[in-house]
Amino acid sequence: MLTIKNLHASVDGKEILKGINLKIKPGEIHAIMGPNGSGKSTLANVLAGKDNYEVTAGEVIYQGENLLDLAPEQRAQKGVFLGFQYPMEIPGVSNIYFLKAALNAKRKAQGLAEVDAIDFLQLVKDKVKHMGMDQDLLYRAVNEGFSGGEKKRNEILQMMILEPTLAILDETDSGLDIDALKVVAEGVSSYRSPERAVLLVTHYQRLLNYIIPDKIHVLVHGKIIKSGDKSLALELEKHGYGWVEEHV
């Protein structure tokens, strides 16, 4: 589904990603782990199309198409979803309108009719309940005045409504208490299917107690220095990132 070949990217002339290679198949969950400043969030943002990153080399093939040629909104319409590390507040726009706008934008791009208002409301209410969120949050401005945990749950709620093919979750676990972490993990697990893939970007191992990835990659200084199965996360937890650097 996603093939990243020798991806190099810079911000303000400083190279952050120094040759990333990664292949994700449908149905798989991959985790990218790494210390602060290793380039994890840069990778997530480059895949979603944020424009202050400059791709200097390499390619990203998503479902047979060069992802880097597409505008961010086109990527989203084709099923790429980025769960933000710091979700933005959008004052003046209520959460439910925003969800509907996003879903309809995707449906329109796919040549589908707009979602029926009543069906949509029912769908959203079910998912909100599933995420253990307060219904009131739907009628408040997007993320405005939400707690850190509410913002992260809201990201997963959006993912569940939009049903992306590839979900990239950028440190969705950071700043969550254990209950919220469980809810978020359940959300991701319920989203899992043979046609979909997930790229989890995380600093800590703890999320991986609840979501078992197929593969774990360790990103250090803009390069994947080690890949392995779930046991790699435990080794990292025990020995730290320094240990991996020394043993590759």
Binding site: K50, A76, M88, G92, A105
Partner: protein, 423 residues
């Protein structure tokens, strides 16, 4: 146009004829403001002063079908500067009529006319008084409270004309009302509106005043709202400027007695080569008054805006609480804003703040919306709408707020799409 001969109606009262003549003489002596006048430094009216516009003529044939009256309100129509008609309204204590008739009949409070406006020194104000003839007269008798908004339409139907409007609003003790002064053009045409509205609030009066300027993109608008507040009165001003080629709107409030509350909010959305200029003045003459100001603007293409807000706190105005803020978004390299907050304080026992920001659309917010699949133009319009909406969010009457919201949306690039999203 401004060399017109003074059309001094000999049937007018002697004092009025004299007032017109004095103001015409003053105009002839001092002329129109130039860039050398501090208050007009960023607004060049040279192009306007060269126009050969005629004085508007009465148009009783004008069909009101051409006006969008979708807000449930007491509608008043003033066409080409002359009081035209109004919807039936028999609320006791509310008097709305032609200013000319009110002067003739010496209606209650008519003698307040020009008490505030006479303080205006520039040539446009002098001309306005020199051509003082008709406009709105609105009187609220003691303790009268009007629930429905009063929607006053000022309509110009005559191309290459200048319309002089003079409006007098007198709110006696204990009254409350919402008054919308809405400047419109039924067709796209070039003309000039020169308007002055005086508003007098007696003790504890509570007035919400909305000035909505949606004139044709070839129109010029020069207007001042002059307000005086008595003890414990409450005044809210909303100035929403969307139309016109060049639009100047001043709001000057005198807090004459203690315990007054005055809030001023403004919004301007500029495109192409539109020019907006907003000057505000809050004059804290006495103690224990509060004033708040928030003006916001979005400028695209080669649009320009000026915001000059002045708060003046006199020596006796202790316990003054005043804040002033202006926030602007520039969407193009050619757009420009000149923001000039001014604070003059002559005693130590006050709480005053002011600030100004000029920025661009928040790129992180924009990316967030795009990453959810929204089209560029929709995402940008949504952020512009969210930025603008703050100005009217304080209006509690949801019908009125939605009416204003829809007018704002009509002036955004993908406003209709955003409107759909808000359903």
């Amino acid at each position: 146009m401004f060399n017109a001969i003074l059309n001094n109606d000999p049937k007018s009262p002697q004092w009025l004829q004299q007032l017109r003549q004095e103001n015409f003489n003053a105009y002839q002596k001092f002329g129109l403001p130039t860039l050398r006048d501090e208050a007009w430094k960023y607004t060049n009216i040279k192009i306007l002063s060269k126009k050969a516009f005629n004085l508007t003529e009465r148009n009783n044939q004008f069909s009101l079908n051409q006006v969008n009256k979708e807000l449930d309100a007491v509608n008043v129509f003033i066409v080409n500067g002359y009081f035209h008609s109004m919807t039936n309204c028999d609320t006791a204590g509310l008097t709305i009529r032609s200013l000319a008739t009110a002067i003739q009949d010496e209606s209650p409070g008519f003698n307040k006319l020009n008490q505030l406006a006479s303080q205006l020194k520039h040539g446009f104000a002098k001309l306005n008084t020199a051509f003082l003839n008709d406009g709105l007269y609105l009187h609220l008798a003691q303790n009268v409270s009007i629930q429905k908004p009063i929607h006053v339409f000022y309509i110009n139907t005559q191309t290459e004309s200048v319309q002089y409007l003079r409006n007098l609003i007198v709110a006696e003790t204990g009254t409350s009302a919402t008054i919308i002064e809405h400047y419109v053009s039924p067709t796209s045409s070039e003309y000039c509106t020169n308007t002055i509205t005086e508003i007098y609030l007696d003790k504890t009066a509570n007035i919400k005043h909305i000035k909505l300027q949606t004139e044709a993109t070839d129109a010029y608008h020069i207007g001042t709202t002059k307000v005086q507040q008595d003890t414990d009165s409450h005044f809210e001003s909303y100035v929403i400027s969307l139309g016109g080629k060049l639009s100047r709107s001043d709001t000057e409030v005198l807090l004459a007695e203690t315990g007054c509350y005055c809030e001023q909010r403004g919004l301007y959305l500029g495109q192409e080569r539109q020019h907006f200029d907003h000057h505000t003045l809050v004059d804290h003459l006495t103690s224990h008054c509060t004033s708040k100001q928030l003006y916001k603007g979005i400028l695209d293409d080669a649009a320009r805006a000026v915001f000059n807000g002045k708060v003046y706190v006199h020596p006796h105005a202790i316990k003054t609480d005043s804040s002033q803020m202006t926030k602007n978004l520039l969407l193009s390299d050619k757009a420009e804003v000149d923001a000039k907050p001014e604070l003059e304080i002559y005693n130590d026992d006050v709480k005053c703040s002011h600030g100004a920001t000029v920025g661009q659309l928040n790129q992180d917010q924009l990316f967030y919306l795009l990453s959810r699949g929204l089209e560029q133009i929709t995402a940008k319009s949504l952020l512009m709408f969210a930025f603008s909406y703050e100005i009217i969010a304080t209006i509690k009457d949801s019908a009125l707020r939605n009416y204003l919201r829809d007018i704002i949306l009509q002036n955004l690039p993908a406003g209709n799409t955003v409107k759909e999203l808000l359903k």
